[in-house]
Symmetry: C2
Subunit: 212 residues, 2 copies
């Protein structure tokens, strides 16, 4: 399938939701679904759903709808979920451990090869069966194992220097949980999970709610 | 200060970022900043920054810029960070523990009173000095302690029923980490952190990168 390069990030961010709902339908052994039914499930309009999916070529058939298993597997390919990635986590504290144990990693094809930390109390221990190594060995490990994805769960103040080492050593995708806007070259993909921004947004919403 | 009710969520989601950068400037003892300097820091345009802040009344002075401490404290108020909230976490697994230990909770004024879990191995233990209680006591605890914010770090399949109990018991803000689009009444604020959607987005970006 040929991919459009001009798909907007707004569309891209809806794809995982379609993928999740289609996975749920698959589990329920539902074979086909119309854009109208997908609309009821996802809350997006049927016309938006058709538009979104048309970005990647036409999947549906007029009057039939979408084959759940076809659409699920095509979206999985578009999302790159069928391709395995070698990954590491820097920062083996509570959040790093939670992310390391997160089932979604393997669902997204991420194969976690090592944790890294600077604390001598942590180095040498394992989380699950994944070892915690000294962060000083980060660069050589990335090069030796051809690591593609780096996950940053360090404190804010270390995040940029960790990202710099990751980029210099050849990583081209970073999943960043630190409260920092990391500066990386254009050819390195960054996806941020900024917990504080999410929590502050909730606080704002509640503050406004309470004044109404 | 009078608040506009028509501020878009896109603006609201930028406020925590301004707040964070202003906090960094405060720590460096920088007293004033222009929208142009804020633009260089945040990556938003100076005109967007002025527009965003004008939604909440004019903070800056022509030719002077913004007072860092004033703007920081005003944004804190707008975000509701000066108001304490009583909070609980349902789901005391890895992710729940990481969120419970997350320093941002107290920064956002969240006072964590209890964890809840259904596992008999967990009930009665403490994380930090916060006890893990039986999820069967969730409703009575919320009512008794007038809990305002519920954090959901359960598996997907339990999330809606947990949210239902929270809402029925009087909670009006939910920070949801489960991979589910929870259905709640309009007067209950939900903020989602969907890790899988974030990770799948990174996977998509890398997949497209590798084909260029």
């Amino acid at each position: 399938m040929k991919k459009s390069k001009k798909v907007s990030m707004a569309v891209v961010r809806r794809l995982p939701k379609y993928y999740r709902y289609l996975g749920d339908l698959l589990k329920k052994d539902i074979k086909k679904i119309s854009s109208k039914q997908l609309s009821q499930l996802t809350g997006f309009t049927a016309s938006q759903i058709r538009q979104d999916l048309n970005n990647f070529g036409g999947f549906g058939q007029q009057g039939y709808g979408y084959s759940v298993s076809d659409l699920h597997s095509q979206l999985g390919k578009i999302l790159g979920l069928n391709r395995p990635y070698r990954a590491i986590i820097v920062g083996a504290g509570n959040l790093g451990q939670a992310i390391g144990n997160y089932g979604g990693l393997s669902e997204a094809g991420l194969n976690l090869l090592s944790f890294f930390d600077k604390s001598s109390k942590m180095i040498g221990l394992s989380i699950g069966d994944v070892e915690i190594r000294n962060v000083k060995a980060l660069s050589s490990f990335i090069k030796e194992h051809d690591i593609e994805v780096g996950i940053i769960t360090t404190p804010t103040e270390s995040a940029q220097s960790v990202a710099d080492i990751m980029v210099e050593s050849g990583i081209n995708g970073i999943w960043n949980f630190a409260e920092a806007d990391l500066k990386v070259p254009d050819n390195v993909m960054i996806e941020n999970v900024h917990l504080n921004e999410s929590l502050f947004t909730l606080s704002y919403l509640m503050e406004n709610l309470s004044e109404e």
